[in-house]
């Protein structure tokens, strides 16, 4: 058994343990941690298979973006809503386990019984090194043979983004928020509570005082006497001067 195989099985073991953690953990956050563990180990396995670019993409996209999003959503969901806190369904779990084990046995037998058959391609370690590394080689193949596919993928991602924005956009304001804005806190003359006429857009120059540009594009009024701007406040957009 070579070191390579040993390392592979070590990484695979942790990946499988992580995956088991996803399924077994009660708390979705713990599931997510298991998933990240699994993904990171799979990324390391990609490194063994000389797929450096994919390994990094795996970490950035899966571990860095997708699972972070999942954790984000999980934290937004109220903990009382997590169904597994209220009980599991033993019959279903038993059925799932039996089916899973049977399938695993079958598939493993099939894999072990039949070797891999196929025609080897041109991309040996030497040819990849000659092009200038895994990333360059990938790029050359990707942007020649798979040009249409990559354009379509870009389109798919765009569509998904738009779809997600449409789905996740909150209703303009929630009911309670609308109520909070509608509610009259203390006074009946509350302008947000009653439909009051709009305040005047422009005001006369102060009779006794001056207007000062105070900064940030804001005028402030400097009143010299107490009889102005009491009934009619110095309020609203200052008229264009």
């Amino acid at each position: 058994m070579t070191v390579q195989v040993l390392v592979f099985w070590l990484l695979a073991l942790v990946a499988i343990l992580g995956a088991l953690g996803v399924v077994a953990a009660r708390n979705p956050i713990h599931s997510a941690i298991g998933l990240v563990l699994s993904f990171l180990n799979v990324a390391a396995i990609y490194l063994i298979a000389r797929a450096e670019f994919l390994a990094v993409v795996q970490v950035i996209v899966y571990a860095g973006a997708v699972i972070v999003l999942v954790v984000f959503v999980t934290m937004l969901v109220h903990p009382d809503d997590l169904p597994e806190f209220h009980g599991r369904r033993p019959l279903r779990i038993a059925t799932g386990l039996v089916l899973g084990l049977a399938l695993l046995a079958e598939v493993s037998a099939a894999i072990l019984a039949h070797g891999l058959r196929g025609t080897p391609g041109p991309w040996t370690d030497d040819t990849i090194a000659a092009v200038g590394g895994n990333t360059r080689a990938l790029g050359q193949v990707l942007y020649s043979d798979f040009m249409l596919a990559i354009q379509l993928t870009a389109l798919l991602l765009l569509a998904a983004t738009i779809g997600a924005i449409a789905l996740a956009r909150p209703e303009a304001v929630s009911e309670r928020l609308a109520a909070a804005r509608r509610v009259m806190t203390i006074s009946l003359a509350h302008p947000r509570g009653l439909d009051q006429p709009a305040l005047p857009a422009a005001l006369p120059e102060p009779q006794n005082g001056r207007v000062k540009e105070a900064g940030g594009g804001r005028p402030i009024v400097l009143a010299r006497t107490a009889d102005e701007f009491t009934e009619q406040p110095a309020w609203g957009e200052w008229r264009a001067r």
């Binding site: 402030i220 107490a226 009491t230 309020w235």
Partner: protein, 409 residues
């Protein structure tokens, strides 16, 4: 028709419902929280980062100051006023002594009145500096607070020179000042007035045109003028909304009617306007102080005399029998103002600070009530907070300029 025989039903709006729905998060800000300016507690109901309801819970610093006033003799209560709004102690003293003087029908000599004005305006600047520093710190501008506290030290040095104390000054006395003005104090104040406009420019360089500051303050926490009036707001909170009400102009006390100054009014009623208004108020305070220094007589009495309500000067106590007896009575028994009630308000740095005193003719007030401006101003927080972001809450608490000692009393 309201039936006054029945207790008024308290309608708790649905905003105040205690159990939040599942999408909401209840966040207790305070009483131990870095930006609630002491021990304010704010119970926030959040949806995401948007505030749906905001309940300020006060009383964590309640010491029963008003009740203490009803068990202290009139002159003994002055130090207690220091401890309400402890960043603007001389103004609190001023409000109280003016109310007592009004009750007794006495007036401080002209020179003392000028010096009271100087000290009140210095207090206003000091208080605004604390406000500016903490407000900027809340919004994340770290350095401004250290600059403002650096300059506040100069004012506290003046206080120290004048009365020996820096924070709880116990400066004003009923009838004027019993201590003589130190000879180099006027020059000290003038020096400060020369220096301070530069300092204001420094703060403004850091904040006024700063895009992040503008983004954080413009359009945030808008109070419409009607709302401001209805909530009974005073001070910069009211004037930021464009309503012209400044006690110094509307009901001039001391000698403010002799001074030429302007009252800044905001035009949009948001956090930024209140910031601009307070910055301008500091400039106007410097103007007032300079005029006072020009007009104040260089000598003359600082304490009203020949009155049963005022403690006699130390020199007379030592030399004349009548004054010694008066002093003895004043100290042992206190003075008894006439029966009646009185309300006197001053323009405190935070708004209208009023003292309402009911006298039953005994040396102890029958009832003493402090209308502290920030207690009233704080009530506008839920109004401003509805629909705001969580981060705005600290800006809103900051913009009201509260000192919990004064809110809770």
């Amino acid at each position: 028709m309201i039936d006054f025989s029945q207790p008024t039903p308290v309608i708790l709006s649905e905003v105040r419902q205690i159990s939040p729905t599942r999408r909401e998060l209840v966040l207790n800000m305070g009483p131990q929280h870095p930006s609630t300016h002491g021990v304010l507690r704010v119970r926030l109901t959040l949806e995401g980062e948007t505030v749906i309801a905001c309940d300020p819970v006060i009383g964590y610093l309640h010491r029963g100051v008003e009740k203490l006033g009803e068990s202290h003799r009139y002159a003994q209560f002055v130090p207690w006023t220091d401890r309400t709004d402890y960043v603007a102690a001389p103004s609190n003293n001023l409000g109280y002594v003016l109310a007592v003087e009004k009750l007794c029908g006495i007036q401080a000599p002209e020179r003392a009145q000028y010096w009271r004005m100087i000290m009140a305006e210095l207090t206003r600047i000091a208080s605004h500096l604390v406000w500016l520093g903490t407000h900027a710190l809340d919004i994340g501008a770290l350095s401004v607070s250290l600059y403002t506290f650096r300059d506040r030290e100069l004012i506290l040095d003046i206080f120290e020179k004048f009365c020996g104390a820096r924070l709880t000054t116990n400066m004003m006395e009923i009838g004027g000042f019993s201590r003589e003005i130190p000879p180099d104090l006027p020059e000290m104040v003038r020096e400060f007035c020369r220096y301070f406009p530069k300092a204001i420019r420094q703060y403004e360089d850091l904040l006024t045109e700063n895009p992040i500051w503008l983004a954080r303050t413009k359009g945030v926490g808008v109070i419409e003028p009607e709302v401001a009036i209805n909530y009974g707001l005073t001070g910069a909170c009211l004037r930021g909304s464009g309503v012209n009400y400044d006690v110094r102009k509307a009901m001039p006390y001391l000698l403010y009617d002799r001074i030429d100054f302007e009252v800044p009014l905001g035009t949009h009623g948001d956090v930024y306007d209140r910031y601009l208004v307070r910055i301008e108020e500091m400039r106007q305070s410097i103007r007032i102080i300079e005029q006072c220094l020009d007009q104040v007589p260089t000598d003359g009495p600082l304490m009203a005399y020949e009155s049963q309500y005022v403690i006699p000067p130390h020199k007379n106590v030592m030399t004349t029998a009548e004054d010694m007896q008066r002093h003895f009575i004043w100290v042992i028994k206190g003075f008894s103002p006439p029966k009646g009630e009185v309300y006197h308000a001053v323009e405190h740095s935070k708004g209208e600070l009023g003292y309402y005193i009911v006298s039953d003719g005994s040396p102890i007030p029958y009832r003493l009530r402090i209308r502290s401006p920030d207690f009233v101003n704080l009530q506008s927080l839920p109004y401003m907070a509805q629909g705001a972001m969580l981060a705005d809450i600290v800006a809103l608490i900051g913009t009201i300029d509260i000192v919990l000692g004064s809110v809770d009393r």
